[in-house]
Symmetry: C2
Subunit: 437 residues, 2 copies
């Protein structure tokens, strides 16, 4: 892609409500545009990042045997009345009347609908355990939407649901998802900490939030620093290994605000290991047993012929929110650097040229063609601007690798730079293999 | 994927309103589940087909330089008041009040919102021409939703928008999209006929519908049979070639109901070439010049310093509807055969076995593993049923290739069948290369 053709409306004037760095960066770099309060359009590079996150989330869900389906955004109120949540949910639920006067709503979450799908299809223990997920737009009518995509009204979320015959088997599903979440966030370049959490309007008695540390986070967290020493590579999806992982994590104090008790913290964690900081919630998992299956009559026949209410859990990842969360974690000193796996482009070529001398632009186009042949997704900055303007702009766009074609590059050695490192002069061949690795 | 694990609730009992074959098949094969009137959940194989269609549509849009973004589903009413369509649109628009009492709506189309994005970003002729598109859920509150995903309320659609400085350049964008549509439908295994059409609530004076022939179609069409002789391979994206293509299509009589005039039909088409039939609209393109850019103040500076209202067109493809349309076109005599490009799986292995003799199942698992290694997406029917039940089921699922592991297969020669053809006994190697081609 040539930058002059890319639809990337870079803006300098920020609205006064853009208070946190992800909100600012996303507007400045033309990743999003607000269309109304808490509702955004995703412009090309914003969408590209979000799609890459979505795909990683999908792949990790598929790896544990969860199957993708897609529930609609608009639901009937009837099923929410059946579960008893229609009145409880409060004003965050966007309620709608259709032209026939039927009560509808824009789904804020999907426990009811997935239970309805499940109860009408699955009748026997033989089909269990089962995990289903979808990645869909949801709506929560926040009273004060703010912080850009971090607390918006229309947001993109992966929510998965597990179905098991009994608590023991359900616990295995929960542990699988727990591990899967840690692996997902790692692939996104993030270190997420699982924290014992409150269950809120979803309900149930077991719940973890996955939190990444960030000054601007809305969640206050209390943890033993030793949680950072747990190494994911020590575990696998084997049941025993999963149990060990959960045990290792559970033995370390790490809770959110609502679960915090000072006396317990001081007793369990010695002073120099206590960490009180802020974080961003990027995932939340719940085990709630038969909270929905019972009122919604979601029963299966067990091996001994009895009818059992299916044991369920639900598991969310905020896909659109993760775009902002990654920025909060990776945007420092006015320089953004996307993790390779989610960067809008693999590499950018930045030539120094002006209208009287386009030699470097011509050189750059040749490099561009070469990289394209290798299926490397490359952006060429063909805009006529001075180099310091260009670098400023690319500090915003945040592509992690740069090829700089200026006076210092020679025919064979090209200036190559990983953001936040020194540049070096290397062969194009080496650049290719670095980018493909 | 093993069939016993796949979430595919095959149903025998059809609701009485499932009148057309795509609606019936999608319910019977567990591709969709209705959640409320005209609103469906997409179950795993239904979603897989739709995602493949979406990806082909996306690739063909990218090929002509259209850039993907994503507008939200919920829009503010304000911008529709600015364009003057808020009152015109009628009850098909799902109108919503949020908790603050603001008037919102679920977007039925996006001319207003894209114009708003464009006007705030692009100020100069230098950035033109430009094409932007998104693939997003839309809602039209049909008074009588019917025919499954063919006329539902919540539907998945690709809509693109072109922006040009003048009519001539805009015509080139229109022609590019026209050709791109024909190529898209061809990749989907469909022969779509472009027909001069009415512009309806989108407006403008130039419009084509893309129609595939089907008895169950809602659109009545009138055409000269010679339109089927036009060969797409004769054209390219070169401007002159595009012009020739449009000329060739325009010289053949082909119109929808609203444009039909009997006298003209009889005069232009001789009797034996007249075809009066029904079809399904799968795409619709419009050129409407400054219909939206003028009221919404979307102006750019031209080369001579004047302010020009941008000339716009819009271009829709019904992605979810295409799933149904393909079924209408390809489901015959109780046998479905998906076009290879959009099939839920590349191939299915059907072993004959029972609980006393699982030899063929074991053989099949070996074949399964082999094919998996080649990145072939294979379904293994490991359900214990007799072969005639199995074949009936696969007539519904519609995977175009079958490997049958029964008494006739030997160690080296495997029974391989393309649906609607005779089976043959071949090496696994040959099956692999057939499936990869």
């Amino acid at each position: 892609m040539f930058l002059s053709k890319l639809f990337i409306p870079i803006t300098k004037n920020l609205p006064s409500d853009a208070k946190i760095k992800s909100h600012q960066l996303m507007l400045r770099a033309g990743m999003i545009k607000q269309s109304s309060a808490g509702i955004y359009s995703w412009l090309p590079i914003g969408l590209k990042v979000m799609k890459k996150i979505e795909q990683i989330v999908r792949e990790e869900q598929n790896k544990i045997g969860a199957q993708e389906l897609l529930m609609p955004t608009i639901q009937s109120a009837d099923i929410w009345k059946e579960s008893g949540r229609y009145n409880d949910y409060g004003e965050e639920m966007l309620r709608i009347k259709d032209r026939q006067g039927r009560e509808m709503l824009y789904g804020p979450t999907n426990e009811e609908l997935i239970t309805d799908i499940f109860r009408s299809s699955v009748k026997s223990y033989k089909s269990l355990p089962q995990m289903l997920y979808h990645i869909q737009w949801k709506f929560r009518d926040e009273i004060r939407p703010r912080f850009g995509v971090m607390r918006c009204r229309e947001f993109f979320m992966k929510d998965a649901y597990s179905f098991d015959l009994d608590d023991n088997s359900a616990k295995i599903s929960y542990n699988k998802m727990f591990f899967s979440y840690l692996k997902t966030f790692k692939r996104l370049g993030l270190e997420a900490i699982p924290m014992a959490a409150d269950t809120g309007p979803i309900g149930g008695d077991l719940s973890h939030e996955f939190i990444i540390l960030a000054e601007t986070g809305e969640s206050k967290i209390y943890t033993d620093k030793s949680i950072f020493e747990i190494d994911l590579n020590n575990y696998s999806y084997d049941n025993l290994s999963l149990e060990k992982m959960i045990k290792d994590y559970s033995s370390v104090y790490a809770v959110t605000d609502e679960k915090f008790k000072k006396a317990e913290f001081d007793k369990k964690v010695n002073k120099q290991n206590q960490l009180i900081t802020k974080g961003i919630e990027v995932g939340h998992i719940f085990y709630f047993g038969d909270k929905y299956s019972k009122p919604l009559n979601c029963f299966v026949d067990s091996q001994d012929g009895k009818k059992n209410a299916v044991k369920m859990g639900s598991y969310g990842i905020g896909v659109s929110r993760l775009v902002g969360a990654i920025i909060e974690a990776k945007y420092e000193k006015e320089i953004m650097k996307w993790p390779k796996a989610v960067s809008p482009f693999d590499v950018v070529i930045i030539p120094s040229f002006n209208k009287n001398n386009k030699e470097n632009l011509t050189k750059s186009i040749k490099i561009y063609e070469e990289l394209k042949k290798q299926n490397i997704d490359v952006l060429l900055d063909d805009v006529e601007e001075n180099m310091s303007q260009k670098f400023k702009k690319h500090d915003l766009i945040g592509i992690p690798f740069q090829i700089i074609v200026g006076s210092k590059s020679t025919e064979s050695k090209i200036e190559f730079k990983e953001v936040n490192s020194e540049s070096s002069f290397v062969d194009l061949k080496d650049i290719k293999s670095k980018l493909k690795s």
